[in-house]
């Protein structure tokens, strides 16, 4: 379609005085992520979690730990080729991540309430539905997204040895420990890829339409020291204008 006069004039001005070279793009691998608290301010789980709904610098997502999306629900002046989707989590606390092995009575002795074990094995990680839509059209539907689209960001291990206290210490095994799958082979690949254009609006949600999943762990850090954050990572190729 031919350019209008105004477009041609703007184009000329931009090419001479603009801050970037219009029409010239560079591409690079890029991840966009968005983390939000699993519990709301009343410590209640939700039916719907909307990711990338607030941009970097907003009140909900004030820093890069939470998100790097430049515009709410959009890649802004960049286009994006979506190649992979990952669901992840983090706990904003500098303390024991999951199982507190030092507490024999409240944590180690029972896996009912310790750490993230019950939440991953019998809780929110075992349910939910992820949808990725552009405009009004749904392009991706993933059941149980924390299982089907795990972080898949490499192998890491936290190995613990526990000895019982007695005259002759013996190994005490069986401390419950689980985490989302991290093998790279488990990655959810969007194949064929999805291309999201400049300024195009998209929406990523995890829903629990069959009912909310309350957090189970009561001695875990998310329950006692702050929120558990769940997140969605979009991995792919960014196309942005050359400056």
């Amino acid at each position: 379609m031919a350019e209008t006069n105004s477009q041609a004039i703007v184009g000329k001005l931009q090419s001479r005085y603009g801050t970037y070279a219009r029409g010239q793009l560079q591409s690079q691998r890029k991840q966009y992520w968005s983390y939000i608290p699993y519990l709301n301010s009343s410590n209640v789980a939700q039916n719907t979690y909307t990711f990338f709904g607030s941009a970097l610098g907003d009140q909900q997502t004030p820093n890069l730990q939470r998100t790097n999306i430049p515009v709410q629900g959009s890649f802004g002046t960049s286009a994006f080729l979506l190649k992979s989707i990952q669901c992840s989590l983090y706990i904003p606390s500098n303390s024991t991540f999951g199982v507190d092995y030092s507490s024999a009575t409240t944590t180690y002795a029972t896996d009912a309430t310790s750490g993230l074990w019950p939440d991953l094995v019998s809780g929110w990680a075992q349910a939910g539905i992820l949808t990725f839509s552009v405009g009004a059209k749904n392009f991706v539907t993933i059941p149980k997204p924390f299982l089907y689209a795990p972080p898949a960001d490499g192998r890491s291990d936290l190995t613990v040895t526990r000895l019982t206290t007695s005259a002759t210490p013996t190994y005490s095994v069986g401390a419950p420990e689980a985490e989302l799958h991290r093998l790279a082979e488990e990655q959810y690949l969007v194949d064929p890829e999805l291309y999201i254009d400049f300024q195009e609006n998209f929406r990523v949600q995890i829903n629990y339409p069959a009912g909310i999943i309350p957090q189970i762990g009561t001695t875990s850090l998310p329950a006692t020291q702050g929120n558990l954050y769940i997140g969605v990572i979009l991995d792919g190729v960014e196309f942005r204008p050359v400056q």
């Binding site: 180690y108 002795a109 029972t110 896996d111 009912a112 309430t113 310790s114 074990w117 019950p118 991953l120 094995v121 019998s122 809780g123 929110w124 990680a125 075992q126 349910a127 939910g128 539905i129 059209k137 392009f139 991706v140 539907t141 993933i142 059941p143 149980k144 924390f146 299982l147 089907y148 795990p150 291990d157 936290l158 095994v173 069986g174 401390a175 419950p176 420990e177 689980a178 985490e179 989302l180 799958h181 991290r182 093998l183 082979e185 488990e186 690949l189 969007v190 194949d191 064929p192 999805l194 829903n207 629990y208 339409p209 069959a210 009912g211 909310i212 999943i213 309350p214 189970i216």
Partner: protein, 262 residues
Amino acid sequence: MATESQQITQMIASRYGTANYGNLQVLKWQYYDYVRMTPSTGIVSQKLNFFSIPQGSLDPNSGIAKTLEETNLDRNGQFTYDYVITGIRTHLYVLPKARQNTTGAVNTSTTLTVGGVTGGGSGTGSLGASAGTMNFLEQLSGRGNLIVTFGQKRYFEINQPFKKCPIGAGVSIKSYGGGTPTTAGVNTNYWYSQSADTRDRYIVTPPLFVERDSIIDASIQFLDTDYNSTNYTLPNLNSVSGSFAFVNVGLCFDGFAIVPTQ
């Protein structure tokens, strides 16, 4: 060759329709369907039917309306889009605590998530007991046949589908146990899960193309002579009749949906 009425319909659709079937797009997609494994008796249904009940309709075993979490089937026994099947997964799993059986307090942490069994592994009271849910599921996973028919023709017959077509996804469990033995003794616990390794998925080669109007008849059937209520009843976890864990069975077709542009 299209009939005159088809030509007229296509012309109207191309001009005024909400979808453009002349311009198609390929998307990675899963069609999935989860059904409750047993009715309130706790006896595993001899034939578990999949892709027959769409969203919003009641699962006959659970009596609960299906949501998008259970299925993305919009039409009874038919896919919404033309579909290419490249892989098959089954999923045999215990429902999360919040959706568990209230009979016998199965939905409590004590029963559902504590690995330990009071008294050293010989009693009842948890999924992990020697006669508990996990051992039952392990035995069940060695049985059954997956049978899938499109139209009048059978396309898949897979023996032991829970083993041959695992989910290939899941939580990475490093260790399982804990529990508090109230008496001296060995605390034995069991944990069952299908393979979480995506390389173990059942790959459909060559892929199978399914037209969106094809009638699907997919089921997992337990056909051996050992099928009876003794062998196929979920164990009670507490001393209350009906205190079995709710278990869902899922069937998932991986592949590509061929979607009209809008």
